[in-house]
């Protein structure tokens, strides 16, 4: 009797894993096969032509890279400093709990809400317009929780022994944080940051009203220009225009490029984490 139940249980577990793997590979293969048809050097290095029915996606690639980079410039310092405050300086369990609740709430907000917020605050109130700057700031807020959580974890994982050794040499709290805690926590912080970049590169809703444009002939000139972006370009190809027979294959090609970009970024994060773990065995 027990043997049968156990067999059933194991079967259920196996089927679940199989189902997950099949779905994952189905997506990869589907996008891969469809995308490869249009993928070539020209596709990566040319702007779209003839109403998005021909040409490549260079402005969208550049735009996505710019937005990701911009969001990191904003979110990394803010996130790391917040994490240091939470892990090293904040006194009182209640205060820390309230701040963490706020961060968790921020992580749960649907991304389109960030888009509306960005439109109201950065585009209108600060008058940055629909631009790389507005989009970067909006994406930056979106990925803050990811960066804060990863950084806080990394800072807390630094052994207390290091702090004691530093204090015993007459170092102040700030010297200890800057010269011992931060360098030790850096690999963990970078991992969180790269995951954040991956997230920012893939989001559509937050940039829809704040940064992205359907079509751009050349590349943006400043952070106050609007840009094309990979996820938004897919959306545009599938919903606008009059020649779906040409646009849909380009959309798959764009999806493949986006997928490779995000997977590549995650891969870098994984490699950095493994290296850091191997290098530091205390």
């Amino acid at each position: 009797m027990r043997g049968k139940k156990e067999l059933l249980g194991i079967l259920a577990i196996r089927i679940s894993v199989l189902f997950v793997l099949v779905s994952l590979f189905a997506v990869l293969i589907f996008i891969g096969l469809n995308g490869l048809k249009v993928l070539n050097i020209g596709f990566l290095f040319e702007p779209p032509k003839e109403g998005m029915t021909k040409g490549g996606i260079l402005p969208a690639i550049v735009g996505s890279l710019g937005l990701s980079l911009g969001s990191i410039c904003f979110a990394l310092p803010l996130g790391v400093l917040s994490a240091i405050y939470l892990a090293e300086y904040a006194k009182g369990k209640r205060l820390i709990r309230v701040i963490k609740m706020g961060i968790n709430a921020l992580a749960g907000v649907p991304s389109v809400v960030f888009g509306l917020f960005g439109l109201a605050v950065f585009v209108k109130f600060f008058g940055f317009g629909v631009s790389i700057l507005s989009g970067s700031l909006t994406l930056g807020i979106l990925i803050l929780p990811t960066i804060i959580r990863a950084s806080e974890e990394a800072v807390l994982a630094v052994p207390q022994d290091f702090r004691e050794a530093s204090f015993a040499l007459g170092a102040s709290k700030w010297q200890t944080v800057r010269r011992v805690v931060l360098p030790t926590a850096l690999p963990g912080i970078l991992t969180g940051t790269i995951l954040g970049i991956g997230r920012a590169a893939g989001e559509t809703a937050p940039i829809m009203f704040t940064a992205a444009t359907f079509y751009q002939r050349g590349l943006p000139h400043s952070i106050f220009d609007e840009v094309m972006a990979l996820p938004y370009h897919i959306y545009a190809l599938m919903t606008e225009g009059t020649s779906p027979q040409y646009q849909v294959p380009i959309a798959y090609g764009t999806a493949l490029v986006l997928l490779l970009l995000v997977l590549g970024i995650n891969l870098v994060a994984i490699i950095m984490r493994t290296r850091a773990r191997r290098a530091k065995k205390w």
Partner: protein
């Protein structure tokens, strides 16, 4: 008795409700090795951490009484704790070099105290590593990670790190408890040499070690200082019954 370097007067310490040190009166002589021994939990490490105020880092610590360093109470409000810790260095039980190069470990203290002169840094690092009897083993690998060294070497590196900022006192908190006998012997020999320049206080639960390295020995039990005197006398003719019982292995 020689000139005292550190004197405590009616020193009491509480961790929250836990009364960890009770009316400690001790006078640590200058440029000698003083061992503090006793069973686990007797307060010997706590007492040691009063001498550089490292107990300040533990929330809920309360101190009453005085600790005088060269006659000045280090627990008075106007004292600069960072300067105090520069004068009173420490080597820990858990070997704890920074995840930096060997050179940067020793240079750390100098850098945080504002030394930017590259040549001077190199000189001090070399001298400190020599004083810590590890120079010959690391001179070819100064810019490699400190974690590449063996446990005993890492502990001598930590000693070099403490020496580098030229403290007056070095506190050793069970420095050999994680080390093998050969590394332990090296560190004990080193402590013998260091007392020419520094006042040394070593906490140990190993009474043979206390007998080997120290000139003076304090015996603590349950937060009290039971007996303090010349090591020779404590080990051959203890005055307190409890000291005798501990030394003869009746408890420990």
């Amino acid at each position: 008795m020689v000139k005292p370097k550190i004197v405590t007067k009616e020193l009491n310490l509480w961790y929250g409700e836990n009364h960890a040190l009770k009316d400690i009166n001790i006078s640590i002589p200058e440029k000698a090795v003083t061992a503090i021994m006793g069973p686990s939990g007797c307060g010997k490490s706590t007492l040691l951490r009063c001498f550089n105020r490292l107990n300040d880092l533990v929330d809920g610590t309360r101190v009453k009484g005085e600790v005088l360093l060269d006659g000045e109470n280090i627990y008075k409000d106007s004292i600069d704790v960072f300067l105090l810790r520069r004068r009173v260095g420490m080597v820990f039980q858990r070997v704890n070099p920074f995840p930096k190069t060997i050179f940067e470990n020793v240079a750390y203290g100098l850098r945080i105290h504002g030394c930017k002169d590259g040549a001077k840094l190199e000189d001090r690092v070399r001298e400190s590593l020599m004083d810590a009897a590890i120079w010959d083993e690391v001179k070819a690998s100064l810019h490699k990670s400190a974690f590449d060294l063996s446990g005993g070497q890492q502990q001598r590196l930590c000693i070099a790190r403490a020496i580098a900022i030229e403290p007056e006192v070095i506190l050793f908190d069970e420095p050999c408890s994680a080390l093998d006998p050969i590394s332990t012997a090296k560190i004990e020999k080193l402590i013998e040499e260091l007392k020419q320049k520094f006042t040394i206080v070593i906490v140990t639960h190993n009474m043979q070690q206390a007998a080997r390295v120290s000139d003076y020995t304090a015996f603590m039990l349950l937060g009290e200082l039971v007996e303090f005197g010349k090591t020779e006398k404590i080990f051959t003719a203890p005055e307190d019954k409890r000291t005798e019982n501990y030394l003869t292995g009746k408890f420990g």
